[in-house]
């Protein structure tokens, strides 16, 4: 785990409709399931007529001192007089991750009201786009310098001459396109899968119109089923 912080929580004293108290708990972000409280579920036992739900200790509930009434209290994210949007994004990511691991029931008593759209666009850019852009630009600059040197050594064209040459310009275009689409090695696969997926549904509809003999082979089974990468 990258960041292991202990967030001191003032647990929300909530009463769910059946009158059970979820007692105060200290949620360390190591997610020790052992620290969760056991709540009595006997009252709910008669619900399940053979549906197979067994009683078990309830999962830890998400609590954070800055999460109040279903939304983040933005006042608590102010640092040195300035709003720390980065902190809001990280906190929201933490909350969503927690809920992914321990899904909570959607109650009407504590509805979630937080919308990520209140975080301004430049905060998103500064967090995600800029670091990656810096990385790629840096790499491009290094590769460019080295390639200019190499081409000069091989062909004798200096930088001014290279920029005038058609082949060099074409090579530059291909490189730029390549970098944009294939940033990481796995991009090759993802783009190919994307192309496949994008046309699969069309193929399934078109197959009725194809030659009967082609359809006879029973090859219509696109039983991959899983459409997600």
């Amino acid at each position: 785990m990258g960041t292991k912080q202990e967030t001191h929580v003032v647990a929300l004293e909530t009463e769910d409709p059946k009158g059970l108290n979820i007692a105060e708990q200290e949620a360390k972000f190591g997610f020790n399931a052992g620290s969760s409280t056991t709540t009595s579920r006997d009252a709910k036992d008669d619900d399940e007529a053979g549906s197979g739900l067994d009683t078990e200790p309830s999962a830890p509930k998400f609590s954070d001192e800055r999460w109040k009434n279903g939304t983040w209290d933005l006042n608590m994210f102010v640092r040195d007089g300035k709003m720390d949007w980065d902190g809001v994004i990280v906190a929201e990511a933490r909350r969503r991750k927690f809920l992914e691991m321990y899904p909570e029931s959607a109650t009407n008593q504590e509805p979630v009201l937080f919308r990520s759209s209140i975080i301004p666009w430049w905060a998103w850019m500064m967090r995600s786009h800029l670091p990656e852009a810096e990385l790629i630009n840096g790499r491009a600059a290094m590769v460019g310098f080295f390639m200019a040197y190499l081409v000069d050594a091989l062909t004798g064209l200096d930088v001014v001459g290279q920029t005038g040459n058609l082949i060099c310009k074409a090579g530059l275009l291909v490189t730029v396109m390549g970098v944009i689409f294939f940033r990481r090695a796995q991009d090759f696969d993802s783009l190919r899968k994307l192309a496949d997926e994008a046309t699969l549904y069309d193929k399934q509809w078109e197959s009725s119109w194809q030659d009967q003999d082609a359809g006879d082979a029973g090859d219509g089974d696109s039983g991959r089923g899983g459409k997600k990468i």
Partner: protein
């Protein structure tokens, strides 16, 4: 044969027939009809194939196998048009596990009486993986709603109507279908009724027998991938039922379904809580538990009265027509992605196929061919609805892929324009009138939401490591 049959023209007065028929009928198998003598605007070139023979002494016989919405609509249309129709249904009393929601346009187009409607859903809630809840029904007008019915009620009503129109209803299990040995010989249907085996010879077969269609197997129509829909019917205490009076809920998240949504739909006096999946069928019970836990406070105290499951096709079969057999409804695979809506499209395809047969056979007078079915039914259907299906498939792929995308979906659904567009296209099955500017804003917001949620998603991944 060609010489004896009067050539059929669709938009010329009859007296032209004889003049032109003598020119063409003796020499050509096909006759090209033009309107050289009329002074009206030139009509389109009609090529009528005279190779469709007239049936002597009898009407066309059609069998519809499967008595659900698709089969009943087809049988009703066929019988009303004068074709001798047989409607096979193996268990008229049983109810197929189903969400039971139909759009407004179906009530009008198929004249469904309002007494059949159990509930009118006017509010919907969509809940994201992080429990962000969006009210999805703010733009509905007072007379707009989603009608919830019980399948057994709807199916039996449609079947009775088909019988009144002249179809012969046969309660039987169809065991096999014999394909004809020559172009003119009939299809033979073997079925079990009343403990004994029978067979029936017909000219045209419409396969409307659902996801595990036996007709499709007989004509080797190929396979399709299916989702499994699993639901539990839960009877709630009165005060909890009040909450679901006219409200349906939709839950998305990896805990409730990896590639679909989970639902809570109100029915006549109970709610149906269920989920579905394509890629992870063996874990369906886990997902059902997931949705039960998500809805926990709202259904606690309820009793499970029924558990049911059914496959739902994900896309059409490779072959939907072979010879004089056509597939409609779930048997053909006409369930939309994203929403999983199938009842309307089943009924509509049944009707369309029947109308195609009526047209090609001229009310039951002629034999039809596979070409007729392709032209009048398949082409019409694809032309009408392919765009809808493709669009819903795109939405499904984009928004049901990951938790991040689902969060984006719910965020977007909060927008009033999106809600209006969605409901208009769902309730009336037509492309809603949109404002260009609002469309642009919606696209912009879509990208914005997706990007934001992807960024948060990447942070979530980073936290994992």
């Amino acid at each position: 044969m060609a010489a004896a049959t009067p050539l059929h023209l669709q938009n010329k007065p009859h007296h032209h027939h004889h003049r032109l028929s003598s020119l063409f009928s003796s020499s050509l198998p096909f006759s090209i009809k033009t309107t050289p003598l009329s002074t009206s605007k030139p009509s389109s070139l009609i090529i009528s194939s005279t190779s469709n023979p007239l049936l002597s002494g009898r009407k066309l016989r059609a069998a519809v196998i499967g008595g659900g919405p698709a089969g009943s609509s087809a049988a009703e249309t066929l019988a009303a048009g004068g074709i001798e129709t047989f409607l096979f249904e193996r268990s008229p009393a049983s109810s197929k596990p189903c969400g039971g929601a139909i759009p407004l346009c179906m009530l009008e187009e198929f004249s469904i009486p309002p007494e059949l409607v159990d509930r009118k859903v006017t509010r919907m809630k969509i809940i994201s993986p992080s429990n962000l809840t969006v009210d999805f029904g703010k733009t509905l007008k007072p007379n707009e709603y989603i009608a919830m019915l019980r399948r057994e009620v709807l199916d039996s009503f449609l079947r009775r109507r088909a019988e009144t129109a002249g179809a012969t209803a046969i309660t039987a299990l169809v065991t096999s279908l014999d394909l004809p040995s020559s172009p003119a010989s009939p299809y033979v249907i073997h079925y079990n009724a009343g403990g004994s085996r029978h067979s029936l010879a017909v000219d045209v077969v419409i396969g409307a027998d659902g996801a595990n269609s036996r007709v499709a197997k007989s004509i080797k129509a190929g396979d399709y991938s299916c989702a499994i829909a699993f639901q539990e019917r839960i009877k709630l205490p009165d005060e909890k039922m009040e909450y679901y009076q006219d409200l349906a809920e939709m839950y998305v998240g990896n805990d409730v379904s990896p590639d679909f949504y989970a639902w809570v739909f109100p029915k006549c006096d109970h709610v149906a809580v269920g989920t579905g999946t394509v890629c992870s069928k063996q874990n369906i019970k886990l997902y059902q538990r997931g949705i039960r836990e998500r809805v926990e406070p709202k259904i606690s105290g309820g009793k499970v009265i029924k558990v049911e499951a059914h496959p739902i096709p994900e896309h059409p079969r490779p072959v939907r027509i072979r010879g004089r057999v056509a597939l409609v409804g779930d048997a053909a695979g006409y369930v939309t992605k994203c929403s999983g809506e199938g009842i309307y499209f089943a009924a509509k395809s049944g009707k369309l196929c029947a109308e195609a047969i009526l047209k090609a056979s001229e009310g039951g007078l002629r034999m039809i061919s596979e070409e007729d079915l392709r032209r009048e039914y398949l082409k019409e259907w694809d032309g009408k609805y392919l765009v809808t299906y493709r669009l819903l498939d795109l939405l499904h792929r984009v928004f049901y892929g990951s938790n991040a995308a689902r969060e984006a979906l719910v965020e977007l659904c909060g927008d009033e324009y999106v809600q209006r567009m969605t409901f208009e296209s769902y309730l009336y099955k037509r492309l809603a009138e949109g404002d260009r500017w609002e469309d642009a804003k919606m696209v912009f917001n879509t990208f914005g939401s997706l990007i934001r949620c992807q960024i948060v998603g990447r942070d979530i991944q980073a936290l994992r490591v």
